[in-house]
Symmetry: C2
Subunit: 120 residues, 2 copies
């Protein structure tokens, strides 16, 4: 009947170091081994994916995504050890936050009227 | 150095029943006793505030905001008992979620590079 949406964003100065979109991108790079394939799988332009990667790489103590020999488009990309770690910790944070609010959410959800179905 | 942004939205069918913006609006109505004054204090148009109130009122089992005699603009508005309760529970949910991720956040924050200062 009801659905909770919980979003965590970690800001670093003027930038968002990690948030839902960047975490999804890291995961897609991990799965596809390429920034362009990851961007495609998320319906995102290559340019946008590259900018998100650049921001993440700048925000942390060392790059989260490393590109392999062959140039930006050619050689593929992978998560660094730190990238794997940041992705995992971020997902854990979100899971912990969700678990913490589950009881309160049920209380609040009980106060909702019957929703009109989501049009699809 | 780093800052966490945690947003909780409770969806009800196609609508957002309560989220950060609607909670701020409830609080402003509680403080000002009027939808138009609340809208002004948040830099929001009266029309937008009214639409948000309408959505909230529709999403819950009974209205969160009641308008007083004198018409929409004239008579003021206040939170119903349910409105007070929903606002309080929502703020508690957000606080609980934030408290739950504090340790993990410190771990993740320790992996951030020194941020460039936020321009203001």
């Amino acid at each position: 009947m009801h659905r909770l949406d919980l979003k965590i964003r970690l800001h670093c100065g003027a930038d968002i170091a990690i948030g839902p979109g960047k975490a999804d991108l890291l995961e897609a790079i991990q799965q596809t081994g390429s920034i362009s394939a990851a961007a495609r799988s998320l319906g995102m332009s290559y340019r946008r994916a590259w900018l998100l990667v650049e921001t993440m790489n700048r925000c942390f103590t060392s790059p989260l995504v490393t590109t392999l020999a062959g140039g930006r488009h050619g050689g593929g990309a992978q998560l660094s050890e730190l990238g794997v770690q940041v992705l995992q910790r971020y997902r854990e944070l979100c899971d912990q936050a969700l678990a913490a609010v589950q009881d309160g959410l049920d209380d609040l959800g009980a106060l909702l009227a019957n929703p009109t179905p989501v049009p699809r």
